[in-house]
């Protein structure tokens, strides 16, 4: 298993930079998620690591060795594609043997390795089938089997679960994570789904607009986001962003109501945090609660979405909107305007 190091990596296709100034260190055996919206550059970054594209600038090192000039076939990395990219004219067994045959290993060893990987993924009965005779989930496993059988330095995943339905996705998340723990494999996992990133990664790399926004453990990013992007990307329902004004006494005022207070700064006051400043206040929906008419802040209920676990309550506070998540199966009636 290997370490992967990116130093000041950048990429430009001629229409503007797609990646800039990427510095990242992926440790041995770590499961790192590259997370971000479409177009943020995460797939490009993965492909640069794979060697399928050339960086415009910067260095890429695998196990300390500079690989900028090394072809994908010599980097000893395995990739699981979003569309699985299984060879349609080969059986599952042949798909999984392809890489080992390229390496000219003896047939007995190839058979052993393929059958071991198949057993691990529950593919043994499917070995002689062709991809078109497999379901989506089965194909996904074959794609992973093809990667595992090579015992590569690291695994690269390019949104492998996007084409599966919700139930299957949940199951595969668990299986991939389990596999990771068994193999101890360095893994780089690209996804736009924050749930996948949160549940699977040791560390998340949040990307937006070609630049790293924050790197850290899932809970760290959730609890202490570095900027609006990270704060708004993680969490479902997402964090509420409200326009507020900072009062002299540290109160954050939204639509005339004080919703929170800023503690006095420990060191010098950060620039921009002056009384009367317009700020953005972020509130997590699950941190809000409904209370009696005498406490709290009055707001109007627009819509209630029951989710089974709880309820997402859409509120209007003056001209602004926010969402609240409550687990209490609160027995309460609609259309009671909190005036």
């Amino acid at each position: 298993m290997a370490t992967i190091t990116l130093s000041n990596v950048s990429k430009d296709y001629g229409g503007g930079p797609v990646l800039r100034g990427i510095d990242l260190e992926i440790r041995e055996g770590e499961f790192v998620a590259l997370m971000g919206p479409s177009g943020c550059g995460k797939s490009t970054l993965l492909r640069l690591i794979a060697g399928l594209e050339e960086p415009g600038g910067g260095q890429i090192r695998i196990d300390g060795r500079l690989v900028n000039d090394v072809a994908p076939k010599d980097r000893d990395l395995a990739m699981v594609f979003q569309s699985y990219a299984l060879y349609p004219h080969m059986t599952v067994r042949e798909n999984m043997s392809f890489a080992l045959k390229q390496r000219r290993l003896p047939q007995a060893e190839i058979t052993r390795a393929v059958e071991a990987a198949a057993a691990k993924l529950g593919l043994t009965t499917l070995l002689e089938r062709k991809p078109k005779a497999l379901s989506g989930g089965q194909r996904q496993r074959v794609a992973m089997g093809r990667a595992i059988v090579r015992q590569p330095k690291a695994f690269l995943f390019d949104e492998p679960l996007s084409n599966l339905d919700a139930r299957l996705r949940e199951q595969m998340r668990y299986e991939i994570r389990k596999l990771h723990r068994e193999l101890g494999a360095t893994s780089v996992y690209v996804t736009h789904d924050q749930v996948e990133a949160m549940t699977m990664a040791d560390r998340i790399v949040a990307l937006n607009d070609g630049a790293i926004q924050q790197v850290g453990g899932p809970q760290d990013l959730y609890d202490t986001p570095a900027n609006l992007f990270v704060a708004g990307f993680l969490g479902s329902p997402p964090m509420n962003f409200l326009d507020a004004t900072l009062a002299p006494d540290g109160a954050l005022v939204v639509e005339g109501q004080t919703l929170a207070r800023v503690p006095p700064p420990a060191g010098p006051r950060p620039a921009g945090l002056v009384p009367g400043a317009a700020v953005t206040l972020g509130l997590r929906p699950e941190r809000l609660a409904l209370t009696t008419p005498t406490d709290g802040v009055p707001a109007r209920v627009d819509l209630v979405e029951p989710t089974g676990t709880g309820q997402v309550v859409h509120l209007a506070l003056g001209a602004q909107r926010l969402k609240l998540f409550t687990m209490g199966g609160a027995a309460w009636r609609r259309a009671t305007p909190w005036a």
């Binding site: 794979a50 399928l52 072809a71 994908p72 076939k73 990395l77 395995a78 990739m79 594609f81 979003q82 569309s83 990219a85 299984l86 060879y87 349609p88 004219h89 392809f98 890489a99 390229q102 390496r103 093809r146 090579r150």
Partner: protein
């Protein structure tokens, strides 16, 4: 009841009739060729317009085949068309693959050059080509024809192959490259097997075009030993310009290999062009 019948029956009947008309139109000239080739000489003028002669004969075919040259012409055409088919398909596959997979400076120029090559009357390059090939000893030779035909057919074949490649997802090569193959190995082991129908269709198309070519075969090769079927047939026709029976028999014989081959591959042509259109 009768209303539903006429709603579904009438359109289907019209559909079938229209198709029958097209089939009749397509096959009639060939049928006529066959009919006259089987009509004995003595009935030729009297029964000229009948749909089928009262007596059939294979004499004309016998005469044509016994004519010492036709097997030779046939063999020459077969050699030239097969060689051209293979070479043009190979070159066109490489170019078509490049058009499908790569973006590179000058791509528009290359495509433009290929397009222009399809736009002028070939008649004006007969003499220059002759003067180019003569010092190389490639006039009056089958090899020279193969070289020329390959050049003529490669552009269209390249566009055909491009559309077949477009139907194959690019991540298949990438998967193979991650698995330890160079791009060329990926092309050979993974992509080409998937384009077999496309290769067959393109090869068949080039074969047909090469088989039918007349002008350069006439102009570049003068000796009968290296004449192809079209040139031979034309010479035969102008020599025996009133023996319709034999002329038609020769025509039918000229058609057989190409017709059979085309019947086999035409399905792949439509398939491949459709698939390419969907993806590209």
């Amino acid at each position: 009841m009768s209303k539903t019948l006429s709603r579904t029956l009438l359109p289907r009947l019209l559909h079938a009739l229209a198709l029958a008309a097209f089939v009749a139109f397509a096959l009639f000239p060939l049928f006529w060729l066959l009919k006259v080739s089987l009509t004995p000489d003595d009935l030729m003028y009297g029964e000229g317009v009948r749909l089928w002669p009262s007596r059939v004969t294979l004499d004309h075919y016998g005469a044509v085949l016994r004519h010492s040259q036709f097997p030779l012409f046939f063999r020459n055409s077969l050699i030239v068309s097969t060689a051209t088919g293979l070479l043009a398909t190979a070159a066109a596959s490489a170019a078509g693959y490049a058009f499908s997979r790569f973006r590179f400076p000058g791509k528009a120029w290359v495509v433009g050059v290929m397009l222009i090559s399809q736009m002028f009357p070939l008649v004006i390059i007969v003499a220059p080509i002759f003067r180019l090939l003569a010092p190389l000893g490639l006039t009056n030779s089958l090899t020279g024809l193969v070289v020329v035909y390959t050049a003529f057919n490669t552009p269209f074949a390249a566009f055909l192959m491009q559309s077949f490649f477009e139907a194959i997802p690019k991540d298949l090569e990438e998967a193979a490259m991650m698995d330890g193959a160079t791009r060329f190995q990926a092309l050979r082991r993974v992509i080409l097997p998937l384009t077999l129908p496309g290769l067959a269709a393109t090869g068949g198309f080039v074969f047909t075009a090469a088989w039918s070519e007349l002008l350069f075969s006439l102009m570049l090769n003068s000796s009968a030993a290296v004449s192809t079927f079209p040139a031979g047939l034309l010479g035969f026709v102008s020599k025996f310009s009133v023996d319709f029976g034999q002329m038609m028999a020769a025509g039918v014989l000229a058609l057989l290999p190409v017709g059979a081959f085309f019947l086999l591959i035409q399905r792949y042509l439509v398939q491949g062009l459709t698939a390419g259109a969907v993806k590209g």
